[in-house]
């Protein structure tokens, strides 16, 4: 048992963690520090290692090498039951042979808590989650939303300092999901456990998280606040994964203080020229909503292929001279996007990435 630091009460720290199944390495070298009381979201496409990471915290997956610290203690070999963790499963994992009340109090009964303490805690939690009156219902009598709340409730009564959630909202329909999201945040604000939340839904991540860890192929691509993840993506993967439609990422040649994008040359401001340094080629990233449709002269010229109208927004696909396509989003309903001839943009909205590593040039590009 080694102590790391003093101020790491109820924090979770991965230090050089590797996870492999036989010869297949799922996670190569994970370094991650989750602060006490924060809401950290693990976000990524399926198979990126986010669930494995969560299950390592719970103790369901063995750590191949490296260290996992919780509350300052190395817990690699601590059995799941002794980690004092509450977890909400994607399938909710409610015991079908028990009533709501029995489900909620199951863990407390195992801990042999006094009866009145169990009843007090369960009542409180059920009140918070609006489950009063459902005590004696069997789980199959509940709706999806109710099941999800029972699962939350079961985690809540444990009053544990760690709160793990594995895609807890993915079985709800869109409308319920939005409501559940808000409730989840409120719930966290009440008790402030250290919360680790796995999802593949970026909206969920953006709205719930204090910090998001974007993962891909077993590596953390970026870990930062939702704002920074959106506006300063660390690399092309994060840029392309966050936002819908995704950020436009176009190949651009550097020529004579200019950037050539789809045969349109735009003059580079001084600050960006410094970022680019001696590179001859970069990736040019621009979010669709940062594009201003131009009618007449435009910074990047192109022809409109297709316009989609979703009521509040119009999205146009622009075909550039070199064949690349560019998404443009516009909230002016009266604009005739079919007729636009290209887009204008402001340089502060542009992200430039290294052509080889894909790393954002703001970060030095290495």
């Amino acid at each position: 048992m080694s102590n790391v630091e003093n101020n790491n009460e109820y924090s979770i720290i991965f230090s050089g963690v590797k996870k492999a199944y036989g010869k297949t390495v799922v996670i190569e070298n994970l370094n991650l520090e989750i602060k006490k009381g924060e809401r950290l979201i693990l976000l990524g496409p399926s198979g990126c290692g986010k669930t494995t990471t969560l299950r390592m915290i719970a103790g369901f997956e063995e750590i191949t090498s490296g260290d996992l610290f919780m509350d300052g203690e190395q817990v690699n070999d601590l059995p799941p039951g002794e980690r004092n963790i509450a977890m909400v499963f994607q399938s909710y994992a409610l015991f079908p042979h028990m009533t709501v009340w029995e489900n909620i109090t199951f863990g407390l009964q195992l801990q042999k808590l006094p009866k009145d303490e169990i009843a007090k805690r369960a009542k409180e939690a059920m009140e918070i989650l609006h489950l009063e009156g459902y005590e004696n219902k069997k789980t199959h009598e509940l709706s999806g939303g109710q099941k999800q709340r029972v699962a939350l409730c079961r985690a809540l009564v444990k009053q544990s300092p760690y709160f793990l959630l594995d895609e807890p909202l993915s079985n709800l329909d869109a409308k319920l999901r939005q409501k559940a999201r808000t409730e989840l945040v409120k719930l966290h604000e009440m008790f402030k456990p250290t919360m680790v939340y796995v999802t593949h839904d970026q909206i969920e991540a953006m709205t719930v998280a204090h910090r998001i860890a974007v993962m891909n192929q077993g590596r953390i691509q970026q870990i930062d606040t939702p704002y920074n993840i959106y506006h300063h993506p660390a690399n092309t993967f994060v840029a392309g994964f966050i936002g819908s439609p995704a950020m436009n990422i176009l190949e651009a040649q550097v020529l004579n203080k200019c950037l050539v994008i789809g045969q349109s040359a735009v003059k580079l401001p001084q600050s960006l020229r410094e970022q680019i340094a001696a590179r001859e080629k970069v990736y040019f990233g621009l979010r669709p909503e940062a594009c201003t449709p131009a009618f007449g002269d435009a910074m990047i010229k192109g022809k409109v292929d297709f316009v989609e109208n979703t009521g509040n927004l119009q999205t146009a696909t622009l075909r550039l001279a070199d064949g690349a396509s560019l998404y443009v989003q516009d909230s002016h309903q009266d604009a005739h996007l079919e007729e636009c001839t290209g887009v204008d943009f402001a340089w502060e909205n542009v992200c430039l990435f290294d052509a080889e590593t894909g790393v954002n040039l703001e970060l030095g590009g290495k």
């Binding site: 719970a58 369901f60 059995p79 799941p80 039951g81 002794e82 980690r83 963790i85 509450a86 977890m87 499963f89 994607q90 399938s91 909710y92 994992a93 015991f95 079908p96 042979h97 028990m98 199951f106 863990g107 195992l110 801990q111 079961r154 444990k158």
Partner: protein, 278 residues
């Protein structure tokens, strides 16, 4: 949409085939029942008539008076119930060991257990007989029970059923600090109760019907089980005891038939599971 009539026209041939099969399957049972209710004359005079008239219970009273039938019923029941409980218990425990734990040679050990299901009984009887003789258990119900206390198919079926439990349910219990024993008792067992019950019914019926191994172990007339008692009526082949023999056969068949009648769906479902390979 097919009309009812049209579906009849298409299907009657198949129904005929099925009805023939049903007749062949049920007729011997009907025949057994009716013969057991016939007196000696009727047995030979109206052999094929399924309705004994007038029905007589002479055969049954005859059996009850001349044979220790209640003893046979008790012997059979006693063996069957202990065998059933033990098979169910050992199967559930072993299956849990296979499902909940990871260890070396797991598959090999499992296959080793399953393989026992396919070993022909006569390959085992002589060594087991010698063992029972050494233990002094010949001609006792314990000698009959002992080699039947486990069942390879039981382990297989219980493992199949437990594998069907969603993993998160077990994980949720683990996170709550439940020990494996608590998980087995409070989560796994309640969930697989129907399957345990169904397979127990099968174990019971099979043990009740068992003939070969008890035949070797049990000698004394007062120790016999019902299927063995049937043997006594065969020595009278060609004789006149058919009504009595059918009465004993009926009594032997009654418990399985009644169990089947009540738990038909259960039993059929378990049998159906048995065929689904894992």
């Amino acid at each position: 949409m097919k009309t009812n009539l049209a579906s009849w026209r298409d299907e009657w041939g198949y129904h005929l085939l099925l009805l023939i099969a049903v007749f062949l399957m049920l007729w011997p049972i009907v025949f057994m029942l009716s013969t057991s209710l016939k007196d000696l004359n009727q047995v030979f005079e109206s052999t094929l008539n399924p309705l004994p008239f007038p029905p007589t219970f002479d055969n049954y009273t005859n059996v009850l008076e001349n044979f220790p039938l209640l003893t046979y019923i008790w012997n059979t029941f006693y063996i069957a119930i202990i065998v059933t409980l033990s098979k169910a218990l050992t199967s559930v425990l072993a299956a849990f060991g296979f499902v909940y734990y990871d260890f070396k040679y797991k598959e090999t050990i499992f296959n080793g257990m399953l393989l026992t299901f396919f070993i022909p009984i006569t390959v085992l009887i002589m060594p087991n007989y010698l063992l029972m003789a050494k233990l002094g258990l010949l001609d006792t119900p314990y000698g009959v029970m002992l080699p039947s206390l486990v069942d390879g198919m039981g382990v297989f079926l219980m493992r199949q059923t437990m594998r069907g439990i969603p993993k998160p349910l077990l994980e949720a219990a683990i996170l709550d600090g439940a020990t494996p024993w608590q998980i087995l008792r409070k989560v796994v067992l309640p969930l697989i109760k129907p399957s345990v019950l169904a397979i127990s019914i099968l174990f019971f019926i099979n043990s009740w019907n068992e003939y070969f191994w008890p035949l070797l172990i049990l000698q004394d007339k007062s120790n016999l089980t019902l299927p063995l008692a049937l043997q006594m009526f065969i020595s009278a082949e060609g004789g006149s005891e058919w009504g009595v023999a059918m009465a004993v056969a009926t009594l032997t068949s009654l418990p399985p038939l009644v169990l089947y009648g009540f738990c038909q769906k259960f039993i059929i479902n378990t049998f159906m599971q048995a065929g689904v390979k894992g």
